[in-house]
Symmetry: D2
Subunit: 340 residues, 4 copies
């Protein structure tokens, strides 16, 4: 059976390289590298040329018949190139923040620059499949969620919808990420000697991913305290989420029931969300190199304090894997194709 070609812009970054690696094993598509200012090539074994390469242009999309194009690029590149690619007939799945925030005002506030494609921003569908599956299936332009919001929203949204949280006490999301979340570029901040044997806080309250959580979860900014921190590892995000449970939650089983109702109910349990028995929580090795979001929690009945741990691989469920999940939905393949 012939494979459908799909393109990747920004294939030499960490998310882009993960896309290429995962798509190379996908049963239904063939990845094509769309060359656009890529750099940092590594030595290549003789005779191992890797995927096909084409110039990054609408003509390439048309002549090669690409069904979809992934952008693993800075938002300004996505804004500039998404339109022409859509016009050339490809679905676009954008891994940058360009199309996540709904309004130009929101984008301006958090990304500190003007949005140049307000029409596309309006059209874009936020691709968190667990909550937007049907809209993703018919979208032309899919905005792939940020890594931190993916872990936060999957952990919080079912609880918020069920009224399980006393919101006025505030929700704390203490988030930790591996270094690949910062992208593949020369920077003193991510250089080895600055990161190893270290742990550092790089954003309190004002991370660009905060508005994605607010928009999806319905929380108010004052209710959600988010801190982003750097772990000296390559990949992985773990979020430790603290809240006071409402009176509906008499026991840990009540929390579990909410999660199971949302993620584990027959006939169609979520394929990429895994729950743990109360009191047990995932670590990052549990999700490394997988598209799973693992959720565990501990609940103190007496004081109604809860801690939820949400863990993902930032390059997979937090980027490339979720993008492929979205592509599968948009192109009509089984949602888990190439991801299990």
């Amino acid at each position: 059976m012939s494979e459908t070609p799909v393109g990747i812009v920004g294939f030499s970054g960490y998310s882009g390289a993960e896309l290429v690696s995962l798509l190379s094993k996908h049963p239904h598509v063939e990845p094509i590298l769309l060359e656009h200012r890529d750099s940092g090539d590594r030595p290549r074994p003789l005779g191992h040329s890797g995927p096909r390469r084409l110039p990054c242009s609408p003509d390439s999309i048309r002549s090669a018949g690409l069904a979809a194009v992934f952008f693993a690029t800075p938002p300004e590149v996505s804004m500039q190139l998404a339109g022409p690619m859509l016009d050339a007939g490809a679905k676009v799945i954008d891994l940058s923040g360009a199309f996540r925030l709904g309004t130009t005002e929101n984008y301006q506030r958090w990304y500190k620059e003007s949005h140049t494609q307000p029409e596309l921003l309006k059209e874009a569908v936020y691709g968190l499949p667990e909550f937007c599956r049907s809209r993703v299936a018919v979208a032309r332009l899919i905005s792939n969620p940020g890594c931190y919001p993916t872990a936060a929203n999957l952990a919080l949204k079912p609880l918020i919808e069920a009224g399980a949280i006393v919101r006025e006490f505030g929700i704390v999301c203490d988030a930790k990420s591996g270094v690949s979340g910062a992208g593949r570029k020369a920077s003193l901040k991510t250089s080895f000697c600055e990161v190893t044997e270290n742990f550092s806080v790089y954003s309190i309250f004002d991370h660009r991913h905060v508005p994605e959580v607010l928009r999806t979860s319905g929380l108010d900014e004052s209710e959600f305290s988010f801190t982003a921190q750097l772990i000296p590892i390559h990949r992985g995000i773990l979020e430790t989420i603290y809240f006071r449970a409402s009176e509906k939650i008499a026991s840990a089983d009540d929390l579990l029931a909410i999660y199971r109702g949302r993620y584990a109910s027959e006939p169609a349990p979520e394929p990429f969300v895994r729950l743990y028995p109360p009191g047990q929580v995932p670590d990052l090795q549990a999700v490394a190199h997988t598209n799973f979001c693992d959720i565990g929690f501990k609940y103190d009945e007496k004081t109604r304090r809860a801690v939820v741990i949400s863990a993902i691989d930032n390059l997979v469920k937090g980027a490339a894997g979720q993008a492929i999940q979205n592509m599968n939905l948009a192109l009509g393949y089984p949602e888990t194709a190439g991801l299990l």
Copy 2:
């Protein structure tokens, strides 16, 4: 000038080795290794025999005239040997949890075993010099604080005393530690391949260090949510502390003023607490191999949400360094001797 001999029991563990290393550079004392089930010796260069060694016994203490003995041992060893060492005339500085919790009931609850030395427990002085300096100076038995409580209490106690925190909203202390905090022993949980490229949660609500924070800060258990997590690094503790500020705190400067009043006021500023300008926070490299506790914070005036970062080297201010600070007080040396 001749140096006063002091002993170390448990010198081959990480805290014990740090004690030996720091004491070797101390201007007024000479470290003596007191041999008691030590193991894991490393290859030793020819002619570099290290400090003197003696059997770990009251006779050694007497005949060598040790002024103080440090215990970097499990609590059951400290309980067993502290009394005889005191009887032999040495001051005792215990780095274990044996004498930290004030009552045998409290010890039983958190350490899951009976306390065998209730009299010593009653006598012991908790050695957080910034808050108990004068009592340490006259103590026979000093209980050196745990690593996590040191960072938490130094960050929280001034704010609590000043009424700066809305306690009923709860204080979250998301704590992260390097692996040396687990001690030097063979264990699958701290083996390299389980820890590297990982980040894991090992205690939610029920860590043994929680009651030390409650006892020192005056917080109630329901007001203090503590999670202990493992960073893939050797040394360092960083705590991210979240709370809602009371109406007294109109701005970041109000918080800073409280900290400065407590730690930076003339004529005797605290030598081992460093404050950062509002909005700036320490990382772990800032405190590595030092006896400093670095405190920085960010404050959102509009919503009165605050995040405080408290960072220490768990083996220095969180163990050996603070123990030497206590020794300096107890033996009448300048408090900073051997520590700057």
Copy 3:
């Protein structure tokens, strides 16, 4: 199509877990966990039970119809259980050193204990597919090569056979391995704090893997200087191999021609050996999580000094991946099934 069941003894170690992970994605077989003193289970998500489990016994083999059994166990376990498994009708692929050294004398010398199964030792086929493919295909008992010898023999054997090396000058093999090579067990030597920010030598001349290289390559002990060293990483082996080239080797292209003749010649190039252009060499990230052995080199024509770099993932080509490659040959599947 139904999948053929195969068993894994020792599935909770690092090589065993890698086998389970790789076999779970294999198109033709189903992995069965054979329970035998396994330990160290990690928290498991709800509803994710993992592969089937059976007791580790000949009855299991027979009743479940296992076509092959992998031993990722210490050699004494392999020696004890291989015979009964063979008698029960399974092919056996042993990842330990039990059957690698050909003679009981050799085993006694390097493993410091008696070999209890001399008949099986005689029968065992050494499973380095690039050099023993046809014998592996008909073997009952396959001895999977050690990690270090795999990298060394693939780099050296073609050159030795071609007479490219001045053997009397000696070959230096400076070998570095990630920590997973030491197995998954509690040990102070592999505990995080002993390994991180460190690099250590653990065997000079006398590593158990030396005789495997001698036996396969035909080198004499005096001609091969081998040092084993520990890198603070999870997985990967890189060997830096030094020798003086013979007069046959006028240029780097002559060395490349030897390697290409052996590994890259049509119609059947080796699927798991990759060569680099002269002057370029692989690093460990190039082979991580793959079954490739990557070989690159630099040659100084004037002095005829050569340095060859050979890199593998010790858990894949150095253990589980090569074991599956051998299984594919022994059970008649395509050699690369489940491995690309």
Copy 4:
């Protein structure tokens, strides 16, 4: 007693920061930061301003009366500024490669650019104290050795002088370094995700430090095979050195006797070289944060093959520590001042 001021140019790099840190604890000198294109400042605690700062100019040297100036800068900066600093009356200790190679031709060959200060090059004294102590003491311009050559020369020079090595068989020096050896600057090659879980070779035969070894040891280029490799750690160099011993060396004790004769003989044993019993070798943790060069070895009498391990902290004995050792000699302080 007042402290003598000394200056540091390039104080924000890793070697420069190590100089500042070590000099701050030195009993006889006060470090002054000489500002010259420094960058990458980290958050600084309130009231902790660090050492005095002056503009990097001859006037500063004169008016502040600096006795010595350290250059922890690229060679072109050292070449440009060393002369004016000497003219201003300071001794200069240069940590770059600018003045190490003796001739402009040698410099041109290995550094690929012209040397602009041939007179200074001629004047410069190579500061390996163990072999050039008396010349350092009277030098105006001291060229501090490279990190790799320090470890290599201390291990090899005594053996070569004693005729203990069969040179025509070749000496292999397989060298591994932590990442700080590459300096503190933004670079993709030293970014965390490229280095962690990796081990890579970055120079075979052609490293700039090779000629320093040849010049000091007297070896010919064809006799010395040097490979430089990157370990995922912050600091440390370990070199594994292979050679065939001459007939003079009947046993390991003969090798040890040579080393002891050179480094451990009374009345003035070398303070910074430590030897290990035959068969025992150092690892990097043994020398971290120290000015020691630790040397151990293993000898196979039957085949006369020897492996020597030489370990240093590249930022201390390989840079800042050795520079201070040289300063101590040049300014007449005890050689070990500030370094033990």
